[in-house]
């Protein structure tokens, strides 16, 4: 089965989801990422969803799960690049992404991760 590439950038891991994932691929990403976080002792996880046209409850749960598992492994997760149509739909669905921090793009996401690692978890941008 194909898998989604995970890149290491300093102390952070970067994942860019470029395909419309079927459920097994999403679960594989969740497992791979958790394993990589532990293996590399990464402090930050950046998930770029700018290519995703649809985020449904399954993918939403995947993102929340990743954030929760990363947290247990002492890493902070930021999801970036959510499209407006996706955001509007998630709001309509009534789906928040608990424990998932978000930023507009990769650059801001990296800044946010640095912020969070410096202890600045002041509750901004937390959904």
């Amino acid at each position: 089965m194909e898998s989604i590439p995970i890149l290491k950038m300093g102390k952070s891991l970067l994942v860019s989801i470029q395909v419309d994932m079927h459920d097994r691929l999403a679960m594989r990403l969740q497992d791979d990422l958790t394993a990589r976080i532990a293996q590399t002792r990464a402090r930050g996880v950046l998930i770029d969803i700018s290519a995703l046209e649809v985020v449904d409850s399954f993918i939403g749960r995947m993102l929340a799960n990743i954030a929760a598992m990363a947290r247990i492994l002492d890493a902070r997760t930021v999801v970036v690049g959510m499209r407006p149509a996706v955001a509007i739909t998630l709001v309509e669905l009534g789906l928040s992404l608990p424990g998932v921090r978000t930023a507009l793009n990769v650059e801001k996401g990296m800044e946010l991760i640095a912020d969070m690692q410096a202890g600045g978890e002041n509750g901004r941008h937390q959904t």
């Binding site: 970036v80 959510m82 149509a85 955001a87 509007i88 998630l90 507009l104 801001k108 959904t127």
Partner: protein
């Protein structure tokens, strides 16, 4: 075809302006109906992505009246912006609108509101860690 032209006209008539690097504003004028509000809010979110603005000020000084649907659209837009990673400030809420909002039971607790666009801009600058100083 006509619907698309209408949509384009609506977007043109409610331009999103960039107040500063990282701060955009949407001054709304006139009566808002549900359809118009939706289109305008979508274009605000799109502008947030395009400019990378972390803060958007929605100014409703020029809006005489707001009903439940419109209030809900505003709240949904704030929620959507937050999901994307940006914050919204709503400014220019007149006393009558404030009364309507309370009367309708709409919960604005989670949203930053300021009386004037100027106040909102000031708060936005603060949040970005910026300050305005006199030239010496």
């Amino acid at each position: 075809m006509i619907a698309r032209q209408q949509q384009e006209m609506l977007e043109l008539s409610t331009p999103v302006v960039q107040l500063w690097d990282g701060i955009v504003a949407l001054p709304l004028i006139g009566t808002l109906d549900s359809a118009r509000t939706q289109i305008v809010m979508e274009s605000l979110l799109q502008k947030i992505v395009e400019t990378g603005a972390g803060i958007a000020v929605i100014d409703i000084t020029g809006v005489p009246m707001v009903d439940t649907l419109v209030a809900q659209h505003l709240l949904k837009t704030v929620a959507a912006a937050r999901l994307m990673g940006a914050e919204c400030i709503i400014s220019g809420i007149r006393p009558q609108i404030a009364q309507t909002i309370v009367h309708l039971g709409v919960d604005l607790n989670d949203v930053i509101t300021k009386a004037t666009l100027a106040d909102a801009f000031s708060i936005a600058l603060q949040r970005l860690g910026l300050t305005v100083a006199h030239r010496t």
